[in-house]
């Protein structure tokens, strides 16, 4: 640059100012690459005389993402889904050539399977493409079955063309590395978790709803959520990432678990702010310093530098002399906090080992074996099943309209749109039909004007290319934000569908009118299946999920002991209810966001969020209690104490049962008073029981188990009191009212 400046006779600063003024935004570059790829795709398809070039355009438009790796990954998923659909289409047509009901039944089963699988993986796009491509090809073949083979080959050809063209453009023109983005996100996440750890320790349980802390926590949660998709792109783009992809996946799981453990540790510190914890737990400052060092070393390795400190393993124990001066509940709270901290220690150690192995700093290279990767969860997800039922209802309504109203125009458009949009509703079930009206009809109107008034005047490919480039660049530039993604997709889809650029170009107003009719029917079907057979109204889903949460909590609290057979029905039921309790608070958040102002009455979004937070905490405590009782079954608890705990468990079970039928069944003040009274009685009972148990040689292990159980019961009870307080923010009868 110095030579350039000298030759030009300008200063370095002036040169830098000049070139910065010409730098293009990511938004511009993204839109330019998409538009260029589309023009090239159309050019190749038309010059080769291939039909349906808009199929290739769809592949470009839907697979163009921010970075090259992500686009490649999505493109590969699309190609893989298309090839699976290829074989399924031909198989179904071959198996049921003359039997429409068997054909439709088998197709429905296949679509239901693909739709269910969409919900359980970050690679959901593969299942979506594998699903909607089958009816597109099968129905598009028409009555002449011999056309089916040509159709599927053409679809595979066009999809591959689109993916290849966009991949080449994105790799050669302003390439953006997914690997750099992925590693940057990991570094930020590690730094964020380190800051959170320090902040929580500095607070020492003092209630401080600091905005900065909440912001940091949200940033960390968001970062952890984005890692899976970024890794999917980075492993395609970079061989180095591909070689250590299993280790990275393990890191992502560990980061996610660390987020949860940090939150639980912060909650466990709530009951300790009046205690001198460092005196009670002598090794605490050293242990905290060790974890701080580990976080620092992890950040150092992520930035590319080798670790400079050796890790040392240590453990924490409650000092027996200091602990004897505390109440049993305080001892239990300290035991719980120590457990959480030791889990954080274990996770930071594992992360350190993993990242040093990934970066090549480890002395012994450890390959992640298959056993370490988690197996697929076998638990049924009721919400995914509900979405599948909705998809099948929409599909069969469309099929019945097609069969019994044979003169309906554009039935193939209706069927294909019904399948692809109803499949997408699993990913975004909160979308209501009215919200799709404006973007759909505006884009249809625009595309119709282009098709009828502009395209007939174009002369030659250059004019067409200019039109395609201008429109698609504008769409990509104006709708570049993540929250505008749906509008962008609709805009692209309508433009390609209605302009129908083909080797033999025809202009037909009837086609546009028929497509408008098909969309109107489709929106009607989606509106109908929002209410029947399963209601997807936000108010109904919110209350339904809340009921399920408390019923599952009731079951988990009530089940007395661990089932002997891990594969038996009881175990599967237990795993199902545990899955419900852990996942429902996260599912409630988007439905909470969709509640109407009228339903919420005077409840603010912050108050609603506090209810969701209290439910998440309840979920953790139920899981903790379940884990503590699994230990209980293997370690003997004194009989008298067991009776007290059983009575406590029964009262918690009754609370869950009451909350499942009425979310504000208990008054917060009454519960608080009842809990305080109960804690006093149990404290007295424990003194007598453990004193007499001491004379019968209660082992330290048993004692720890007792404190763990006590802590778990108390934590769950406190969480129920917090929930009861937050539940008062909502006018539940108003929320439950029937409305349109």
């Amino acid at each position: 640059m110095a030579t350039v400046c000298k030759n030009l006779g300008v200063s370095a600063q002036a040169f830098s100012n000049l070139t910065n003024g010409f730098s293009l935004s990511q938004r511009f570059k993204g839109a330019f690459k998409t538009a260029l790829a589309l023009v090239i795709t159309y050019g190749i398809a038309l010059s080769m005389g291939w039909k349906n070039p808009f199929w290739a355009a769809y592949a470009v438009a839907f697979c163009s993402l921010a970075t090259a790796g992500e686009s490649l990954h999505k493109g590969l998923l699309r190609v893989a889904g298309t090839f699976v659909a290829f074989f399924l289409t031909l198989a179904l047509i071959s198996l049921f050539p003359q039997d429409r009901w068997l054909f439709l039944g088998s197709l429905s089963l296949y679509l239901a399977f693909c739709n269910y699988m969409m919900g359980g993986t970050s690679r959901w796009y593969f299942w979506q493409v594998a699903a909607f491509t089958v009816p597109l090809l099968a129905f598009g073949a028409g009555p002449e079955v011999v056309n089916a083979f040509d159709k599927v080959v053409l679809r595979a050809q066009m999809t591959t063309l689109g993916i290849v063209v966009y991949s080449v453009v994105s790799v050669l023109l302003w390439p953006t590395s997914t690997r750099a983005l992925f590693e940057g996100t990991v570094e930020k996440l590690a730094a964020g978790q380190h800051n959170l750890f320090r902040s929580y320790f500095a607070q020492q349980g003092k209630k401080n709803d600091d905005d900065d802390l909440r912001g940091l926590r949200n940033q960390v949660v968001k970062g952890a959520g984005a890692l899976e998709d970024l890794l999917n792109g980075a492993e395609i783009e970079s061989l180095e990432v591909w070689e250590v992809r299993h280790a990275w996946r393990q890191c992502i799981r560990q980061f996610g678990e660390l987020n949860t453990r940090l939150d639980r540790w912060q909650h466990s510190l709530d009951k300790l702010h009046e205690l001198d914890v460092e005196r009670m737990v002598p090794g605490l400052p050293g242990y905290m310093a060790e974890i701080d060092t580990r976080f620092g070393q992890i950040e150092q390795m992520l930035s590319g530098s080798p670790p400079t400190a050796q890790l040392c393993e240590s453990s924490l124990r409650l000092d027996s002399k200091e602990g004897s001066q505390l109440s049993h509940f305080h001892r239990a709270a300290i035991v719980l906090a120590i457990n959480q901290l030791q889990e954080i220690g274990r996770l930071t150690q594992a992360l350190f080992n993993n990242i040093s192995s990934i970066r090549g700093f480890a002395t012994e290279q450890k390959t992640t074996s298959r056993a370490e990767r988690p197996r697929l969860s076998g638990t049924l997800d009721l919400d995914r099943i509900a979405s599948v039922v909705r998809m099948l209802s929409t599909l069969w309504l469309a099929l019945l309209i097609w069969i019994y109203l044979p003169d309906l125009p554009a039935y193939s458009v209706l069927l294909n749109l019904t399948v692809s949009i109803s499949l997408s509703l699993l990913i975004m079930p909160q979308v209501r039909a009215p919200s799709l009206v404006k973007p759909l009809f505006l884009s249809i109107l625009f595309a119709a004007v282009v098709h009828i008034f502009v395209m007939p005047r174009l002369d030659g490919f250059m004019a067409l290319a200019l039109l395609i480039f201008t429109v698609t660049f504008a769409l990509g530039y104006l709708y570049a934000q993540p929250h505008q993604k749906l509008s962008k997709i609709i805009g692209f889809a309508m433009f390609f569908l209605l302009t129908s650029v083909d080797t033999v170009q025809v202009y037909n107003f009837t086609k546009i009118a028929n497509i408008v009719l098909a969309f109107a029917l489709l929106l009607g079907l989606i509106a109908l299946t929002t209410y029947f057979p399963i209601s997807f109204q936000p108010e109904k889903r919110f209350l339904h999920l809340l009921r399920r949460f408390f019923r599952s909590g009731e079951y988990l609290v009530a089940t007395a002991s661990l089932p002997a057979n891990p594969w038996g029905l009881e175990s599967r039921r237990r795993a199902f209810h545990l899955h419900e309790v852990m996942t429902i608070p996260r599912k409630l958040a988007p439905w909470g966001g969709g509640l109407s102002r009228d339903a919420l009455d005077k409840t603010s979004p912050a108050q609603l969020q506090s209810i969701l937070n209290s439910l998440e905490t309840l979920g953790w405590h139920v899981q903790e209690l379940t884990a503590a009782r699994e230990e209980e079954s293997s370690n003997a608890v004194p009989h008298d104490l067991n009776n007290d705990l059983q009575a406590w468990r029964t009262s918690i079970e009754m609370l869950f049962a009451r909350f499942s039928s009425k979310p504000d069944a208990e008054d917060h003040a009454t519960l608080r008073k009842a809990l305080d009274g109960l804690l006093e009685r149990i404290e007295e009972g424990i003194e007598e029981t453990l004193d007499s148990a001491g004379s019968r040689n209660l082992t330290p292990e048993n004692e720890m188990n007792v404190y763990q159980l006590l802590g778990a019961y108390r934590g769950l009870s406190e969480a129920l009191v917090t929930y009861a307080r937050c539940a008062n923010y909502v006018n539940w009868p108003r929320l439950a009212e029937d409305r349109f």
């Binding site: 107003f509 029947f532 009228d598 009212e737 029937d738 409305r739 349109f740």
Partner: protein
């Protein structure tokens, strides 16, 4: 009166389509007002009531406004 198609330029629309569209609009407005004044809570099944109102409005509009 003989039923006739409704012409917008050279585009012919069946009268039932127009009546159904207007019936839908009227129902949406009615549903919005019922929600606004919390009268919808007295309906046993508001979505079914919605379908019923669309049908009623379509028939009324088709009988008195647009001859279908």
């Amino acid at each position: 009166m003989i039923p006739h198609e409704i012409a917008i330029g050279d585009v012919f629309l069946p009268p039932l389509l127009v009546a159904a569209f207007l019936g839908l609009l009227a129902t949406i407005v009615t549903a919005h007002l019922l929600n606004r004044y919390r009268l919808s809570r007295y309906l046993y099944n508001p979505p079914l009531a919605f379908i019923a109102m669309v049908t009623i409005y379509t028939i009324l509009i088709g009988t008195f406004l647009i001859r279908i």
